[in-house]
């Protein structure tokens, strides 16, 4: 469960104060696939960073998996992210001098796992994203879609409860975007992950359970996802509307 209560975020830009988020309150139940959508500058990424523990709100409270993030120090927050969160970004950000397997293995370096076990888990994650046979390839030898799938494998290799993605299809062509969205859907469907993505991609609506809308930093409400079954075998299993009262703007 991800819960935000009256979350605001202000930045100083020169003499001006920019209100990126204004008193946003919402809940994302565990096991949901949710998209944050809205025009550029609406505060989607800021909201994602805050609920993922990458940024702190100027005001309000954030609880993730039962922990109030404000109570965590920077060290604890880093450890919390390592244990509970997986991240997928628009630009895949794989380390170019590491193979696909080694890139996936990176988050496991922070655990006490032995090398053989780290490798086995990385291979499992690569198998889930359908790239087992590309484990030894370097990022430069992979297509954009494959690189993003490696990034997804890296995000899930620690078996986190939550996977967040900032424009995960933003740098992909239509075919690869569909594949990645299907994969994210499968994480929710087959592995019970909570998946939250920020996207401009209208295709995403067909894969998610719910779309949360933001504009000018204000939560505008939600609408159910497409439930199209667009990803064969990984289609959404049921209604994805937010439970009444679990997501909504507070004045």
């Amino acid at each position: 469960m991800i819960e935000l209560r009256n979350v605001s975020r202000f930045y100083r830009r020169g003499a001006d104060e920019v209100h990126a988020l204004e008193r946003v309150s919402l809940e994302i139940p565990a096991g949901r696939f949710v998209a944050l959508m809205g025009p550029s500058g609406s505060g989607k990424s800021t909201l994602l960073n805050i609920l993922a523990g990458l940024d702190r709100p100027s005001d309000g409270q954030v609880s993730v998996a039962g922990r109030k993030l404000a109570d965590l120090s920077e060290d604890e927050l880093a450890a919390f992210r390592a244990a509970h969160m997986g991240f997928v970004f628009q630009f895949f950000n794989l380390i170019p001098v590491f193979s696909a397997r080694e890139n996936v293995e990176l988050p496991l370096l922070l655990t006490h796992l032995k090398k053989a076990e780290r490798r086995a888990r990385a291979d499992t994650a690569l198998r889930i994203v359908g790239l087992a046979e590309r484990a030894t390839h370097m990022p430069g030898e992979l297509s954009g879609g494959e690189q993003q799938r490696v990034a997804i494998a890296r995000a899930i290799v620690t078996d986190p409860e939550i996977v967040v993605g900032d424009e995960p299809t933003g740098d992909l062509d239509a075919k690869n975007a569909e594949e990645v969205l299907g994969l994210l859907r499968a994480l929710k469907q087959d592995f019970g992950k909570t998946v939250v993505i920020v996207t401009h991609d209208p295709r995403a609506e067909r894969y998610v359970d719910e779309v949360l809308l933001l504009d000018k930093g204000v939560f505008q409400g939600s609408r159910p996802g497409g439930q199209t079954g667009a990803s064969p075998g990984h289609g959404p299993g049921g209604a994805a509307t937010a439970a009444p009262g679990t997501a909504g703007a507070r004045p």
């Binding site: 990424s45 800021t46 960073n49 993922a52 990458l54 940024d55 920077e74 060290d75 880093a78 450890a79 992210r81 390592a82 244990a83 969160m85 997986g86 991240f87 970004f89 628009q90 630009f91 950000n93 380390i95 170019p96 001098v97 590491f98 080694e102 990176l106 988050p107 370096l109 922070l110 090398k115 890296r154 995000a155 900032d166 424009e167």
Partner: protein, 387 residues
Amino acid sequence: MKFFPFVWRNLLRNKLRSLLTGGAIALAIALVCILRTMPAGFDHFLEQLATNTRISVHNTAGIVYSMPYAYLARVKSVPGVVDAVSWTWFGGAVDKDDGVTFPSFAVDADSIGVVFADLEIAPETLEHFRTHRDGALVGRQTLRQYGWKPGDVVTLSSLVWPLELSFRISGEIPADVDPRFWFQREYFEQALREQGVSFDQAGMIWARVDDPEQVPAVMRQVDAMFRNSEAETTSETEKSFFQNFFGNLEGFVTVIVIVTALVTLCIVFIAANTASMAVRERVRELAVLKAIGFHWKLLFVTLVAEAALLSTVAGGVGAGLSLGLTGMLRAASGWNQQLGPLSGFVVTNALFVQALFLSFFIGILSGVVPSFGASRRSVAATLREVF
């Protein structure tokens, strides 16, 4: 250790840049090592040049001032002194236009072989020198320089005295880099007398003491003997004399220390520039690594370790290079006598280890600032900038 591959692979990410930076560090460390061998090298050179049983006695006012020739007999009479010989600067030139190209001295023929016994001049050469008033003992370096050989007659024009003297070479002073030219004082005095000059002075006196432990006592006694006289003396060991003669070694060492420090500073700047570039181009990756749970301290350590590893490996190569270079100089000094003194410049094990530590700390120092800034940077702020 599990982060070592992470550090190493990142280091090799831009091979050309790492190679160029490493090359600059290696050359600088090699230079530092060679500079650091110089004080010990000169010391070694002086040790070779000087014995621990020979002392010089000269006018306290300086070596350009003479003292009465009568001092020689009195020095010889000091207990512990085996023998003593006077030296008087002749300032001879083969060609006046070229000036003085080697040191020439008038010496006492009977004592020179005793006082400089360590030179192992052949007995027949000494005998020839002693028995021929115009005889000359010439250093191997000067013989080679002018293509002279024993039996040759050479003429030197003095730039100090109104004399032009011809000498018959008795033989060589068999030291590899010895340029000296010795001839009989008696021949010198006689030539001066013919010019109407009466000469009863000596430039300096060299004395050999029978026991090294007696040297300080002999020097004290000699100087005490001439205290309050018209020409007070200063006695010093041969090594001390040459140290003073070759200039202020302490000043030289200071210059070496300053140059070494400047070279070190240059390496820090070079390495810091590389570290900055390496960090700057990975800002996005670092943000992602922090996002997935890498603590900033861990990233900081790996970034600094990268800089330290590059610098230490390069430093090792540089120290190895200096080791090879000085080894080559030592080998070359075996066949090229001009390089003789360079055989004393040795990169010791201690110096090698010091160079490794120096390069390690250079790496740490150069990596700290850019790594600290990059690893402390807010993830959200970086993501906002780059995504």
